[in-house]
């Protein structure tokens, strides 16, 4: 029996359909997700100026320069039972031709917290004054003020000078002669306490950074510029800094510590911020406040203005709804 006509027709349709499907160019049914990139200018910011702790610096600064005022504070840890015949304090730094003033310290102080504000309760009587013209100063004390061992000494000068700190290459030396024996000590702790007329000021629409005193740059990122419910791969603030520094970024807590090489744009990641906001379903903030602090441990007290037009938000993300 031959093949019925309907079967032949259907077989033909089937073969044609199969072959047309095979001949068609193979293509994926999927589309990759769009990766969006966006750059937004941040135009809401201010700088707040404050005293800071400078105990990690490689140098100690004393004196006045360009509205900066600085005192050095040092403390040597030696046994208070030591019988002292004579004492020499040696400071090493740039060559000076100036008078140094040494003050007693009225109370103990804490490393990590002492700032220029602390002078109000630390600065005691001047117990030494002497003129020096050298790059290595050795001061001889016949008598030491009381509590020198526990509280230390504060040093001041007329012009601004710098000396190597305990973190520096040539730290200060305290030499104590007791009988036929001499003992040498490096500072147990030291810092310089710096002040400037801008301290306490809030400077709107200005971005400052500097050394010796602290500059807190507050950046306000408008929430409506962020696709809050997207998945972010990149969310960074771009900020140009002319000098090498450490940039510490805060949003409620420390976000990151970035070592920044000067004369380039630093990129500060805000990914943890958006992660927090998404986890907490926060979308009612009009602005996201970001705090940036810059530390320059090796540099002379000074102030720099940052170009505000370098302040931008860089975003790369995937929309969640796709």
């Amino acid at each position: 029996m031959g093949t019925p006509l309907p079967v032949r027709i259907l077989a033909l349709i089937f073969i044609i359909t199969s072959f047309s499907s095979c001949l068609k160019e193979k293509e994926t049914i999927f589309s990759p997700r769009d990766v969006y990139t966006e750059t937004v200018k941040i135009d809401s910011f201010y700088t707040y100026v404050q005293h800071i702790y400078t105990g990690n610096s490689h140098y100690l600064y004393t004196g006045k320069s360009d509205s900066f005022v600085s005192y050095a504070i040092l403390q040597f840890n030696y046994p208070d039972t030591l019988s002292i015949d004579s004492v020499f304090l040696t400071l090493r730094g740039d060559s000076i031709a100036d008078t140094l003033y040494l003050y007693s310290v009225l109370s103990t102080w804490t490393e990590g917290h002492v700032t220029y504000d602390s002078l109000t309760y630390l600065l005691g009587q001047m117990f030494y004054k002497g003129y020096f013209n050298d790059d290595s100063l050795t001061i001889k004390f016949d008598t030491l003020p009381s509590h020198f061992d526990s509280n230390g000494v504060i040093i001041y000068s007329n012009a601004l000078h710098r000396f190597s700190s305990s973190e520096g290459r040539k730290p200060p030396i305290l030499t104590i002669f007791s009988g036929d024996t001499s003992y040498t000590y490096h500072p147990y702790r030291d810092a310089f306490l710096c002040d400037h007329p801008l301290v306490g000021d809030t400077l709107k629409d200005t971005l400052l950074q500097g050394n010796g005193i602290g500059f807190v740059n507050m950046l306000f990122i408008p929430s409506d510029s962020l696709p809050l419910h997207s998945n972010f791969s990149r969310l960074e603030v771009g900020l140009y800094s002319p000098t090498t520094c450490t940039l510490r970024v805060y949003y409620e807590d420390i976000l990151s510590d970035e070592e920044h090489t000067g004369d380039t744009t630093a990129f500060l990641s805000l990914i943890p911020v958006i992660d927090d906001m998404q986890a907490d379903s926060v979308d009612t903030l009009e602005y996201i406040p970001i705090e940036v602090k810059m530390r320059h441990p090796f540099a002379v007290p000074g102030i720099f203005t940052l170009p505000a037009d370098s302040l931008k938000l860089y975003m790369m993300y995937i929309r969640e709804e796709e």
Binding site: V7, F14, T28, I29, S31, R33, V35, F232, S233, I318
Partner: protein, 300 residues
Amino acid sequence: MILLIFASSFAQLGLGDILIPGTGRTAIIRSPLLNDHSFNPASFSDKIYTEFTSKITFSSSKQFTPTISSIGLSIPAMKKINIGMGVDMLYNQNFSYTFPEDTNEWDIYTQNITRIGNILRYSGFLSFKSGKLRVGAMYGYLQGNSEYRWTIDFTRYRDIHDTTFTEYKGLTYSGGFAYSFDRIQIGLFGEKVYLEGQYTHYNIYAGISYKTGDVEILVSLFNLNPQIGIVWNKLTLGGGYTNWKDEHVLEKHAGISYTHRLKDNPFTLFFMVSHLEDTGTGYGLEDTEYSAGFSFEFNE
């Protein structure tokens, strides 16, 4: 078929895998007149009937899916009644796809999608035969899940991971009948599918067949979509055009099967090609699936 009810859940990435429950012949012809309990509870067997179907699907989107798609059992009681149960895989996928490397002004990245999941229907049915009339009803419980993972691996910036996990639960009720005249047979099958938290669908499938000699021609409307099939001796051919409106999928399919009887037990090999077009996303996505499989039917 029911899978496509879920297809919109997956449509953002693909067209979904079309699985019609039952033996492979059912997927090819889609007529409620085929004696297949898992597709139309009005089916009837005079003996204890067991069915097992498995298939492998390849697609141009690089999917490879081996599936045990259907297991069914029916037992005759009081000569005119069948009591049965079945498990049907309505959705099963397990694949991964990596897109070609891409780049933008800041980074180089690759995207990968992985999708796994399945939906099973556990059903019980009752069918009744009286003379040339067969009627039946089915109750089914749907259970399954899907996990969809999307990864974008950036070279420089943070990688993005997105995982969506969905649990499915649902119920399905259906009823149908088939009536045989001399050479003509007519039938109707309707079902309600309720998927918790998703939606409720109603499907109606109507069919008519004409038999002459060794040849039977089956024409049916599968939710108003035309399907045609022909059974000639051991061969079955069929095809259809189905617009899954709610799921935004346009399907054109054709298939062939060969059935060999081992004593009274049909052993069927089948092959089907389905061309799928996405009509909803606007991307013009399309895919071609090639399915091959076999089914055993035991009658004792």
